[in-house]
């Protein structure tokens, strides 16, 4: 088993995938805790669908670097979604559902009508569920991913206390002069960036799992914000690594394998949490 793994590790694209996987897992779980607690879990899902639509546009336009179009569209949608969440005629969850389904349909339509490639369903499938072979990652992708991760982690650490205050009690934070709007905006942008970054690896349908599962699992076990955040990161990175190793050895698609490991870990944590509480 280890020999097979070692053999695979000789290929650069496997190493790239492992690096990107760990970074994506790290960033998504950092934000996950806040999103789940703010009742924004579905924003990740909605945004990933928007990113899928944007990806379709990029594919149709035949752009060499699809990030140039996917990133701005997703960031703008994130800002709009968080804004409507606060004061809207259409309530937050409905707005997210509308945008996400709309973007999904629009994206598929675009790909279908203007498709240049011969195997359309394969393309769509890999955008939705992540590439099956991980060979699509290039060194540039790895670098972009690393830079983004460093920025996300730095932003999170620097604003950790503010993010906590805004998550726990927006009203109080606002009353004591913390720029709540500013931090919500910051969160929205960071979420969008992380989602676009994760798309290549796990695919747009699976990203919300990476955001939500580690956070919810950690909440079963730990009781302070800091320990929940740390535990969520550890769980997420471990699950991503385990998932990738399994997918290499068993030849399963990466995204769904990682999510599967996350689901298993969640049930483990839920059981453990119930035992501890007794």
């Amino acid at each position: 088993m280890f020999e097979t793994l070692w053999e695979y590790l000789q290929y650069p694209f496997v190493r790239y995938a492992l690096i990107v996987g760990v970074l994506v897992a790290l960033c998504s779980s950092l934000l996950g805790v806040t999103l789940v607690l703010k009742r924004f879990s579905f924003i990740g899902d909605g945004l990933s669908h928007v990113a899928f639509g944007a990806m379709a546009i990029a594919a149709v336009l035949n752009l060499t670097n699809e990030l140039l179009i996917v990133m701005p569209i997703t960031v703008i949608s994130a800002v709009l979604l968080l804004r409507t969440g606060q004061n809207a005629k259409i309530k937050g969850d409905a707005a997210i559902a509308m945008i996400s389904v709309g973007a999904l349909a629009f994206g598929y339509l675009l790909m279908n009508v203007f498709s240049t490639s011969s195997h359309l369903s394969g393309d769509v499938c890999s955008t939705l569920f992540g590439s099956t072979s991980m060979v699509t990652l290039t060194l540039t992708d790895v670098w972009i991913c690393t830079v983004i991760s460093v920025i996300v982690v730095a932003v999170f650490l620097l604003f950790y206390n503010k993010i906590f205050a805004v998550t726990f009690d927006e009203g109080f934070a606002l009353a004591s002069g913390t720029g709540v709007k500013r931090y919500n905006l910051l969160l929205a942008i960071v979420i969008a960036v992380v989602i676009v970054m994760s798309m290549k690896l796990v695919g747009s349908l699976m990203i919300s799992a990476l955001v939500i599962f580690p956070a919810v699992s950690a909440m079963r076990l730990f009781k302070s914000f800091r320990s929940v955040t740390v535990c969520s990161v550890v769980l997420s990175v471990t699950c991503a690594l385990a998932g990738m190793v399994i997918s290499i050895l068993a030849g399963t698609p990466v995204g769904p394998t990682i999510v599967g490991v996350n689901v298993a870990v969640f049930f483990l944590c839920a059981g453990l949490g119930a035992l501890l509480r007794r």
Binding site: N161, A173, S176, T178
Partner: protein, 237 residues
């Protein structure tokens, strides 16, 4: 000069006026209780005092060196908070947020302030405990400790005893009263007119008619007597 001076304030939202011509003042060391029926605009008034909402007209002037973000606020609990994984210490410390400004981390003085306020609320034994596992009364104490981290001068309490049982309610009122004795100005929104008359020294009654004055004046006014009589009537039925 007064700590807070409210002149001709008009409150409401989306062009609907709830309160008009509201005038009152709060002096340093006062204990003001705001009473009124549901929907009379108590919470709107509180939000406006905190600067969360813009008034439709009139003005609020802060004096005695009180800055806008130096008001300690005890909000009503939200659904999000009830199962929030956070330790008592983390929550109380977040009350120091306003002092930080752009500084990302809390300094030693702020951490000490948080510990001091946890102790002041008698929660030292619970400092490492998880907020969601505390009782309602303990949670209120934690939020009060957080509010005290934000201010040394004035507390705004929004229905501080909502959902608490009678014994804990009485303890909470005593606790607030002891803070008042220490010199902190208190503004409290309450349904509980009896407690208001017991602890407060000024009453602001808002609704179709507005009354502002001392507790004694309120009890002697026709308006106050009518309201108290109605309250008693409600309880007898």
């Amino acid at each position: 000069m007064s700590m807070i001076e409210v002149n001709d304030l008009r409150l409401g939202y989306e062009n609907r006026v709830i309160i008009e011509q509201l005038n009152f003042t709060v002096q340093t060391g006062d204990y003001l209780c705001i009473v009124g029926e549901n929907g009379s605009g108590k919470s709107t008034l509180m939000k406006t005092l905190l600067g969360l909402q813009k008034p439709m007209g009139g003005s609020i002037v802060f004096g005695d060196g009180l800055k806008k973000n130096e008001i300690g606020y005890l909000p009503q609990q939200t659904a999000v908070q009830r199962d929030f994984p956070a330790s008592v210490r983390e929550i109380v410390l977040s009350g120091c947020q306003a002092r930080c400004g752009w500084r990302p981390f809390y300094n030693k003085a702020e951490k000490q302030l948080a510990e001091k306020n946890i102790e002041r609320m008698g929660m030292t034994a619970y400092a490492g405990r998880c907020y969601r596992e505390l009782s309602g009364g303990q949670q209120q104490r934690v939020l009060l400790a957080r509010a005290l981290c934000a201010t040394q001068k004035i507390l705004l309490l929004d229905e501080p005893v909502a959902g608490l049982d009678p014994k804990v309610t009485a303890e909470m009122y005593e606790l607030i009263d002891s803070l008042h004795q220490e010199g902190i100005t208190i503004i409290m929104i309450s349904h509980d007119i009896k407690a208001a008359l017991c602890y407060a020294d000024h009453i602001l009654h808002i609704g179709r008619r507005i009354f502002f004055g001392t507790k004694e004046d309120y009890q002697n006014s026709d308006f106050g007597r009518l309201f108290l009589w109605q309250e008693d009537g409600d309880k007898d039925v």
